[in-house]
Symmetry: C2
Subunit: 272 residues, 2 copies
Amino acid sequence: MLINGQPSHLISALDRGLQYGDGLFETLAVINGKPALLDRHLERLVAGCQALGMVQPDINQLREESRAEAAQTSRAVLKIILTRGEGGRGYNPASTMTPTRIIHTTPWPDYPDDHARVGVAVRLCDTRLGWNARLAGLKHLNRLEQVLARAEWSDPGINEGVVLDGADNVIEGTMSNLFLVKSGQLITPLLDQCGVKGIMRQVVIETARDLAIKAEEQQVRVDDLKAADGLFLTNSLIGIWPVRVFDGVEYPVNLIDQTLLRTVISKGFATV
Amino acid sequence: MLINGQPSHLISALDRGLQYGDGLFETLAVINGKPALLDRHLERLVAGCQALGMVQPDINQLREESRAEAAQTSRAVLKIILTRGEGGRGYNPASTMTPTRIIHTTPWPDYPDDHARVGVAVRLCDTRLGWNARLAGLKHLNRLEQVLARAEWSDPGINEGVVLDGADNVIEGTMSNLFLVKSGQLITPLLDQCGVKGIMRQVVIETARDLAIKAEEQQVRVDDLKAADGLFLTNSLIGIWPVRVFDGVEYPVNLIDQTLLRTVISKGFATV
């Protein structure tokens, strides 16, 4: 683990990342010792800094440190945490704080290899996501809603949970974004009030449009999920997982356009 | 600073308090070397652990460590942070994690002494609080909304900002709870969907009721604030601050029932 460029695994307990969750993070797949989609993740990190009014980080430094950490592994998860920095009295952030950067790898999760082929089982969570237009889309460090939603089940046969907002709109999975397949087109929930705009979500939208497959962000309800021809989940680690069953409804898992899937994989985005 | 009972100021960067804001905190006034209202704060911490499904901490240990830290100062702020602990893969919390406890004092804030007498100036924030019934009321470590709201102004003549939810309900200040005085009665916003149920808020409600002053939790709108006879703010550090001006509307600052004020002060709750 590198903390501010130095090998360490300790940070100050006065860091605002701990005190307030005042920061951002990125989770990347390391494939053959290289962080996948690194530049896209760093771009999102910079955009997040702007949204939170944090001092802009040195992107070249983050890139070099990320590559150095990833190079020590073959297949792993690379996490980049960037906090607003240490200190400052109360909630008011000093405008000149130096961000704390934490870069570390963890072992590749033990997801069964056949999830991408045979699909996964998904439940509906009770925990709701709160609306905050200023935080919507960002991968920030305030993740208690995801922790509570994920803690709702312990059955290892359930692979993910779908989370709604307070107005019963479908938003995302606890750790993934969600797509509906309907009449050969893709629909994914609007994330203007809550949710995380995943890198893999964006890659899928762009790739679909390149292939002239319509891909729209829309308001989505649970009934829409149940009436969909198919569902799939995306994130930077899982790539694309088709949903085999959601809340008692079964779906075919071979509905994802194979060219789309191959294109996403071939770009090195997916890890299946 | 004590971390898990040992003098230190460093924590593991893998602690879930940093990774996800997965934890709780308490902020107490230290008066004459003693943490004010310690048992109430520890009770809230235990209730928060239950709400988040965290392992219950050893309350006696927290009490002893808090007293030991406070005893090294005269007038200070004591902060107790309790995270779910270190490690665990992804959002899913292991049910057996040992909470991390961080206990430290910081210098007493440089609030002018006359705030409690002449009142403070308060603005209306743009940042909105998201609804989450499971997190509402808790003093948890996901505080980005407060950071963003507090970052909206830098004018030192403004002492606090009022924050609304997404449905235009008045909820609280960025670092305080809010009371309206209306026809000799007290009204404070309902905090069932968002907001922090402050210890001083509860003390004021209980003290008012002991004095046969009606004190109700209600839905409050900005127009209600503007039509109130008076407003005041509470938290464990400021005690009670009357509001002199809110968003252009001026209020008398001597409307708080003096017996209420004296009772709160005499109990050692307020530090004015």
